[in-house]
């Protein structure tokens, strides 16, 4: 456990260090912070004085150190566009993105597990063929296109679903605005969640199915049959617990992809989350905001990977052994 924590901490440190260097380089090279702050009208001398005063003429390492120190204290600079601390701007959008991801994750878990298990247990059934047919079509449609088609069918043609935004929101825990507590908010969540899950869901169905079929062929499952255990215990305990191991590993790898998909989904639905904000920041060359986004995403990446590893360790008693396979 201690070794695990140390390894995790080292990994977290390395990831955050790399991201901070990238971020700092962007901040240092993208645009001129002075111009963004004071505009064009200032004379060259005043400019130089200001540069000196802001420490922009200091050596690279000194500047990076200052940046890192501020970053650790949560100060990532001020957004050029919003004129507010960048981190604050990002964190305000975090709940929207997290709720969207939560919705999609619910869909993925509660559909992929039963459908994957069903199609592994009944490989010849008609329903399995339908599931597999849908899933190959599913992985062939890019997320943004699913989103667009959902908007076109349900909002434009049928007019039954809202096409953008989060709808009516409720404040909880101070600043957190949730769409989960109003009917309107939930309604707004439906299409974006489906869109966000649209590639992951078939991917996981296929993964669970193929892993489960492999496990069902294994000797220990045959032995369980030979012991006269009930079929449900064999499917849902003996086989499924082993199926989960590779699925969890792949799930960990997919977290980054999920973040990328939130950018796409939020763009189509104009969902006021971090991804949408990030693209706006890119278009406005709002460097501090880009930096803040990278760092928040890096932190999410580290945290979720740790959680995934912990879950993996809970399911698999041979974690040390597994580390060899998964790296």
């Amino acid at each position: 456990m201690l070794a695990f924590l140390i390894r995790r901490l080292v990994q977290a440190f390395v990831v955050m260090f790399v991201i901070s260097v990238i971020s700092f380089s962007i901040q240092d090279n993208l645009g001129d912070p002075l111009r963004e702050l004071v505009g064009q009208s200032v004379s060259e001398e005043e400019r130089q004085a200001l540069r000196e005063q802001m420490g922009l003429n200091d050596p690279f390492l000194t500047q990076y150190w200052r940046f890192a120190k501020n970053a650790v204290q949560g100060d990532l600079g001020t957004s050029y566009f919003f004129k507010e601390p960048a981190l604050q701007v990002i964190l305000k959008k975090l709940p929207a993105t997290l709720e969207l991801v939560f919705g999609a994750t619910l869909i993925i878990i509660f559909l992929s597990v039963p459908l994957g298990i069903y199609s592994a247990i009944n490989p010849q059934s008609v329903l399995t063929k339908i599931i597999m047919g849908f899933s190959i079509v599913g992985i062939s449609i890019p997320v943004f296109l699913t989103a667009i088609m959902l908007v076109y069918v349900f909002s434009v043609l049928l007019g039954v679903m809202p096409s953008f935004g989060r709808g009516e929101l409720v404040h909880v825990f101070g600043y957190w605005e949730t769409g989960f507590l109003t009917a309107d908010g939930l309604l707004h969540l439906v299409l974006p969640s489906i869109a966000l899950s649209s590639i992951m869901l078939p991917l996981f169905i296929r993964l669970i199915r193929s892993e489960m079929m492999e496990v069902l062929e294994s000797e220990y499952v045959k032995f369980a049959w030979a012991k006269g255990i009930s079929r449900y215990r064999i499917y849902f305990l003996h086989a499924f617990k082993n199926t989960m191991l590779p699925v969890i590993t792949v799930g960990g790898v997919q977290i980054g992809t999920m973040v990328a998909y939130t950018i796409l989904t939020e763009t189509v639905f104009q969902w006021p989350g971090m991804g949408f904000l990030f693209l706006e920041a890119v278009n406005r060359v709002d460097t501090p905001l880009i930096v803040a986004y990278l760092i928040v995403v890096g932190a999410i990446f580290v945290v979720t990977n740790t959680v995934v590893d912990l879950i993996y360790g809970l399911v698999n008693p041979t974690v040390k052994l597994a580390a060899k396979h998964t790296g």
Binding site: E217, W225, K227, G228, L237, N316, L321
Partner: protein, 340 residues
């Protein structure tokens, strides 16, 4: 009537290219306290035979003909829940590779308790007590500790002992052991075999031992079945088969044993190899490799002939017995068989 009687069992595999017969005309019986060996090369159908007794052949295999009478019920006709009552309860199995047989994510205790709870209504505590008792029976050091360990924390020999303990949990009538020692170290092989023999004798268990090792068969079993290409070719008392084999194939197997060879010389091999099941030759499946093959062997599947205590499926038995069967020279005439 014997406890387990198998009549004309036939198993097929439904492959894409059409059904393939993996086992045919299998008939034998076994009572409590009897020990039966099934020997043959890999691919001869030994394991399929073992698994088909409990109707455990995996897709695409299926029992296409025959009866498996256990205590008067035909196991081939039972519904899944009736079959479940027999599996692990009245007939247990021991698998080939202990490394693969235990579920890696469940503790030894969990895998023992679930077995007991699947067949009897007892509490977890009581089940653990029985499990502990069986672990002692198979001479596992510090058994209390083992219950909460995972399979990967145990050695191969220890795992096989645990698997034997699991097989004994519900005091079955018959144990089917499918090559229980092949995956183990040589030194441990003997220990496990001795344990199995001791348990069978003490507890009056019926044992079906599947192996390719004639030495093991001669130590442990009373009767032996020799299989070739999905069919029984010879069966009878183990002693007779080992000392005075009738079928040319069995003779070949025995001659190939290292003990039978002359030091410094090559071992006596049976020429050629077993044909794949999709392309069995007509007549006796062994005839292309047989030094004595005659025209009849290429056309007709031989029926069983009684010879001494043994039943032999060979057209040439009578002649061979007349020759007073002294060390048939299998190795000098491979060419006769190769051409068909």
């Amino acid at each position: 009537m014997a406890l387990l009687e198998i009549h004309d069992l036939e198993v097929k595999f439904a492959l894409r290219s059409g059904p393939v017969t993996a086992l045919r005309d299998i008939s034998f019986s076994l009572d409590r306290g009897q020990r039966l060996g099934i020997v043959g090369e890999s691919g001869a159908g030994k394991s399929v035979a073992a698994f088909s007794i409990l109707n455990l052949i995996s897709r695409p295999g299926y029992i296409s003909k025959g009866k498996i009478l256990f205590d008067g019920n035909d196991l081939a006709q039972l519904n899944p829940s009736q079959l479940r009552n027999v599996r692990g309860n009245r007939i247990s199995m021991i698998f080939q590779d202990p490394m693969m047989t235990l579920n890696p994510v469940l503790t030894v205790g969990a895998q023992m308790v679930e077995s007991l709870q699947a067949h009897t209504r007892i509490s977890r505590q009581e089940a653990r007590k029985i499990a502990l008792e069986k672990l002692r029976l198979v001479h596992i050091p510090s058994p209390e500790k083992r219950l909460d360990q995972y399979p990967h924390e145990l050695s191969g020999g220890m795992k096989q002992r645990i698997i034997i303990a699991i097989a004994l949990l519900l005091n079955p009538d018959i144990i089917i052991a499918d090559e229980p020692t092949t995956a183990l170290d040589v030194t441990i092989q003997a220990e496990i075999m001795d344990l199995l023999l001791e348990l069978c004798e003490d507890r009056n268990l019926g044992l079906i031992l599947i192996t390719h090792d004639l030495g093991v068969v001669s130590q442990v079993t009373e009767r032996t079945i020799v299989m070739y290409a999905g069919r029984i070719i010879e069966m009878g008392p183990t002693k007779e088969i080992i000392n005075d084999a009738q079928h040319p194939y069995t003779q070949g197997l025995i001659n190939a044993l290292p003990q039978q060879g002359i030091p410094g010389r090559r071992l006596n091999q049976i020429p050629g190899s077993m044909p794949p099941l999709q392309q069995l030759p007509n007549g006796c499946a062994f005839h292309p490799r047989c030094a004595y093959a005659k025209a009849a062997c290429k056309e007709q599947i031989p029926a069983f002939t009684q010879s001494g205590g043994c039943q032999v499926a060979c057209h040439m038995v009578a002649e061979l017995v007349n020759q007073a069967g002294k060390s048939p020279a299998l190795e000098n005439s491979p060419s006769t068989g190769q051409d068909s």
